[in-house]
Every structure is written in structure tokens, then in C-alpha cells.
């Protein structure tokens, strides 16, 4: 019924589409353009000159921290994958305990951490891991798991563990809620019918469970990985990328060279690389989300 849509919503939708497309494309093009210029205030004589791919070359060859930040971000993404796995196990537990619906208290609890600002969560982490008054630090020292003058966030090797624990505190509960919703998509009757037919567990998994789960679970995992890729607030506030460069994610590193050191050209080159990586993930996600929307619509019809 195209005629029932009306002029008003159409125009608004069009305007929003233009606004969002503008918001998406123009900064990207602007950043690409800036990445081809020499915008280092330390060299004023050539400021603003077109230098081609020099900024990218600088980034790839003369900046050792660039590679570090890439591997740090990659590790962050892998940790997010591990978190997804844990969240899925948790969701299976929830599904076994509550096959039909979760108690409201539990749902509220699972949503709660995500409503807190990552800044705040990171600060809590810093407070609890503080070498003087931190609860966790003192607990660890009491159990002799940590030396008397040790600081959990001061150790370049062990800091990873803590960043991922605090990140998990914020993300695993909600991810498990999402996975529980995915698990609910499997019709119980189909499982029962399969049981009656005497299908083995392996075949059940292969032909009933995985086909129902693959799309929504992929979407949830991709969401989570993108969130990990863009992680800025939590590591920035918790460790500031340190000690040394041990938790320097690409987002922090890009913000540092762009805004703290004001090397806009090299920074822009880095931002372009980040955005291209993100777009690659988003394209996969977007093609899946379309089918997810289709599933939702078919169910109602």
C-alpha cells in the first residue's frame, strides 16, 4: 500500500536518510583527503601540501607503535570472542534453568552493567585494583597471589587479564541475554518432533539447532567484535594504554597521534585504516541483519 505511507513520513525518512548518508560519507571523504596532506604543525614550511601516500608509509614503516596497537586491538577482539563463548555457555545454562522466560530480576541484572558508562566502570576497576586501597589488590595480597609491593595495573604482562575481566563484567551479562534470546528462536516442538523421530544428538545439532542459530548468533558475535574493535573509553580510562604500550588499542593510539600530538595527516591515515576495517565487518553484519529482519517479519505474518 504505497499510497497510505503519506507525504510527511516519506519526506522525513528521506531527510534522515540524507542526513545519515552525509554523516557517514563526508567525514570519511574528508578524512581520506586529510590523510593525503602534510598536516604536521612541527613542519610549518610544507604545511598543507599534498604528499600522496607518504602518511601511510610513515605509519607503516616509521611508527613501531602502530604494529603494537594493531596486535593489541587484535588481542582485544580475540578476548571478546572468548567472552562470547563464555556468554553462550551461560545462555545455555539459563535456557536449561528457564526454558520459557527469564525472571525479571535476572533480566534487569543482566542489562544493568551495560547502562553504566564505560568511564565509570573503568574507574571502578582502577579503584578496586589500586595498589593502596584496592579491594581486589588487598585480597590478592592476603592470599599471597601478589607480591607485597605489586600493583595489578602496573605489570605490563598481567594488566591484560584485568582489562579483560573488567570488560567481561560489563559485556558478558548482556551478551548472554542476547544469546538466550537466540536460543529461544529454536521451536521446542521441532526439538520434540526430532526426538520422537529418534534423531541422534549430532544430527539434531546439525540439522535443527545450527540452522536456527547460525544467523542470529553470528549477528551477536559481530556486534560484540565491532564493539571490541572500537573500544576506547574503558582501556583509555583504566590504563591509558599503559603500562608502556601494553594496552594501547588502535582507537587510543589514533586519538593520541591525532589529537594529543596534533599530527593530523598521519592520524587521518590511521583513522582511514580503522574505518576500512570496521566497514568490512559492518558489511558482513549488514547482510545478516537484513535476513534477521526478514525472519522477524515472517514470524508475525
Amino acid at each position: 500500500m504505497p499510497q497510505s505511507l503519506g507525504i510527511g513520513p516519506r519526506v522525513t525518512g528521506l531527510l534522515v536518510a540524507l542526513l545519515l548518508a552525509f554523516f557517514l560519507m563526508v567525514p570519511f571523504i574528508g578524512t581520506v583527503w586529510k590523510s593525503l596532506l602534510q598536516l604536521d604543525p612541527a613542519r610549518p614550511s610544507t604545511y598543507g601540501q599534498f604528499v600522496g601516500v607518504d602518511n601511510y608509509r610513515t605509519l607503516l614503516t616509521k611508527e613501531p607503535e602502530f604494529r603494537t596497537s594493531l596486535s593489541v586491538s587484535l588481542r582485544f577482539v580475540l578476548i571478546a570472542l572468548v567472552q562470547c563463548f563464555l556468554a553462550f555457555l551461560l545462555a545455555v545454562l539459563f535456557r536449561v534453568l528457564w526454558p520459557h522466560r527469564l525472571p525479571r530480576l535476572l533480566v534487569l541484572l543482566l542489562i544493568f552493567p551495560l547502562l553504566l558508562s564505560p568511564t565509570l566502570v573503568a574507574l571502578m576497576g582502577r579503584l578496586f585494583l589500586n595498589d593502596q586501597i584496592g579491594v581486589i589488590t588487598r585480597l590478592l595480597k592476603g592470599l599471597h597471589l601478589l607480591g607485597a609491593d605489586g600493583a595489578p595495573l602496573g605489570n605490563a604482562g598481567g594488566v591484560w587479564l584485568w582489562v579483560s575481566v573488567i570488560d567481561a563484567w560489563q559485556w558478558v551479562p548482556f551478551t548472554s541475554l542476547l544469546f538466550w534470546l537466540c536460543l529461544r528462536l529454536i521451536p521446542v516442538r521441532q526439538l520434540e518432533a526430532a526426538r520422537v523421530d529418534g534423531i541422534g544428538n549430532w544430527l539434531l545439532l546439525r540439522f535443527v539447532i545450527i540452522p536456527y542459530l547460525s544467523v542470529p548468533v553470528t549477528v551477536v558475535i559481530l556486534f560484540r567484535l565491532l564493539e571490541a574493535l572500537r573500544a576506547y573509553d574503558l582501556p583509555q580510562v583504566l590504563t591509558g594504554g599503559g603500562p608502556g604500550v601494553s594496552t594501547l588499542t588502535t582507537s587510543i593510539y589514533a586519538a593520541r597521534i591525532t589529537f594529543n600530538q596534533q599530527r593530523f595527516g598521519v592520524g587521518a591515515a590511521h583513522l582511514v585504516l580503522i574505518e576500512v576495517c570496521a566497514y568490512a565487518l559492518i558489511v558482513i553484519l549488514a547482510s545478516n541483519v537484513k535476513s534477521l529482519r526478514g525472519v522477524l517479519r515472517r514470524k508475525s505474518g
Binding site: 542489562i111 574507574l123 565491532l226
Partner: protein, 279 residues
């Protein structure tokens, strides 16, 4: 393999209890640190005599607390209202429209929502400087409204999809179309979800750090930036930070209470049961 009902009950209670402890204990301890003195924090077991409002008093002498709360709250509130106003008609045309463009709008919203903010930050920073929006209320408001619009579109569209098309046709026969149909037919069906999504927008704007830290300075100060500015320096007053942090986390339980009251969960249950019947 069947687990007996009694065991199941115990397991359920234990699971909820463990989840509650893991999620609430850190927050409770953080709030407590804001209201007890330093010795009690060191000791780890506060007594009644240790409770004090001193941190809050010192905090309000040090930073303009009420100004920060007002700035952040206005910014979050206005941006979520603007986002809802823009997003509802957009979600409607995405759900009901037939053109390719409107189908693409959902993907575009998804992309805007998912793009790492830091990738947009450089150009946005230059725009703000050039347009004189740097450190202005309006600049951040526009930015948060755009980001919030995408979130509401993403959340609302699948639920608009579920409203049967026959309703549209009936409304059209009755002479309702465009905004009229949206206002009288579709919006009432998803109003509580819209409120829930707007609340998420509010929380998201309230919590945002990267753009707020980059684009504001002294005239506009939002909560995360204010908290972070207290951490720099050699001596960190954890009591005062916990006090300000307590104020900063108020919207989270409010949002939860709001979800409960507006019946977002009830809707899910009703749909689940209906789905069961139709199958």
C-alpha cells in the same frame, strides 16, 4: 536426562544469587566509598560511625556539580527527544515503504551506529572548529541526536514490521494516512518500546566520553569528562570520585525502573505466548 523440579528450583535461586552478587557488589562498594571515610576504606569493613557526607561537601566545593548534572541531563534529554522525532517516521517508512532507498536506510543506520566514533572524530572536530560549535551546547546536541536516531531506528523497525499490514489498509480505508496513521495506529502499538529506546539513547548520551572530551572545554561539561578530569594529577581523591560517580550512575537504575514500569518485558511475554498459540 531430567533434573528433578526441587533441584531445579535450588539451582535457579543459586544462579540468580550469584549473578546478583557479581553484578551488584562492585557497584555497592563503589557507592559506599563515597560515603565513608578513608580509614574505613582501608579497613574494608565500615561501621556506622564511619559514614560521612564529607566527600560530597568537598566535591561540591571543587567542581560545579549541579551545573554538570544539568548540562549532561539537558543534553541527553533533548538529544533523545530529537532522536525519537526523527527516528519514528524513518522507522515507519523503512517498515512500510517500498523503495530501495528506504530499505537501505536501515543498513545506513546500522553503519552509522557501528562505525568506530574515533574514525569520525577528526573531521567532526574540524567541522566544530570551523562552524564555531566547539565547546557549544548545540554542537554536541546535533551529534548525539544523529547517533541516537540510528539507535532508535535499529530497535524500533523490527517491531513496526510485526504490526499486521491489514491495519494499515483498514486505516487507509478510514481516511488515515501518513502522520495520521502513524500517530493513531502504529505509534500506540510500539509507544512503550519507543520510550524504552529513547531511554537507552538518554543513557548513551549521558555516558558518552570520546566526543564530549574532544569537543567541549569549559563552557559545557558533561559527566564522564568531569569524572575523568578528577583523576588526573598525582593525588587522587577516591572518595570524591566515588561521590561524583554515584551521581553519574543514577540514570542506570532509573532506566531499569522505567523499563519495568513501561512494560517492555510484558510485551515480550505477550508476544511469546501469542507466537506459541499460532504455531
Amino acid at each position: 536426562m531430567r533434573i528433578r523440579e526441587r533441584h531445579l528450583k535450588i539451582l535457579r535461586a543459586v544462579t540468580v544469587a550469584i549473578t546478583a552478587v557479581i553484578i551488584l557488589l562492585p557497584v555497592v562498594w563503589f557507592i559506599l566509598i563515597g560515603v565513608i571515610n578513608y580509614d574505613a576504606v582501608l579497613r574494608g569493613s565500615p561501621r556506622l560511625a564511619d559514614f560521612t557526607l564529607e566527600h560530597y561537601r568537598k566535591l561540591s566545593a571543587r567542581v560545579p556539580v549541579s551545573g554538570i548534572i544539568l548540562d549532561t541531563a539537558f543534553l541527553a534529554l533533548l538529544s533523545s527527544i530529537f532522536a525519537a522525532l526523527l527516528a519514528v517516521p524513518s522507522a515507519y517508512v523503512i517498515s512500510r515503504g517500498d523503495g530501495k532507498l528506504f530499505n537501505q536506510l536501515y543498513t545506513i543506520s546500522l553503519t552509522v551506529w557501528l562505525v568506530p566514533p574515533v574514525a569520525l572524530s577528526l573531521q567532526v572536530y574540524f567541522w566544530f572548529i570551523q562552524l564555531g560549535l566547539y565547546d557549544e551546547f548545540g554542537g554536541l546536541l546535533v551529534l548525539y541526536s544523529v547517533i541516537g536516531t540510528t539507535l532508535i531506528i535499529l530497535l524500533l523497525t523490527p517491531f513496526l514490521d510485526r504490526i499486521p499490514k491489514q491495519l494499515d489498509e483498514a486505516a487507509w480505508v478510514d481516511g488515515l494516512q501518513g502522520f495520521g496513521a502513524l500517530w493513531h495506529i502504529h505509534l500506540p502499538a510500539v509507544s512503550h518500546l519507543l520510550l524504552g529506546a529513547s531511554m537507552l539513547c538518554f543513557v548513551r548520551s549521558w555516558n558518552e566520553l570520546l566526543f564530549a572530551g574532544l569537543l567541549t572545554n569549559v563552557r559545557v561539561r558533561t559527566m564522564p569528562v568531569a569524572i575523568l578530569s578528577m583523576v588526573t594529577g598525582s593525588h587522587i581523591e577516591w572518595g570524591q570520585i566515588a561521590a561524583l560517580g554515584t551521581l553519574a550512575l543514577i540514570p542506570a537504575p532509573l532506566a531499569l525502573a522505567f523499563f519495568l514500569a513501561s512494560g517492555v518485558f510484558k510485551q515480550g511475554r505477550r508476544r511469546a505466548s501469542r507466537g506459541g498459540v499460532s504455531r
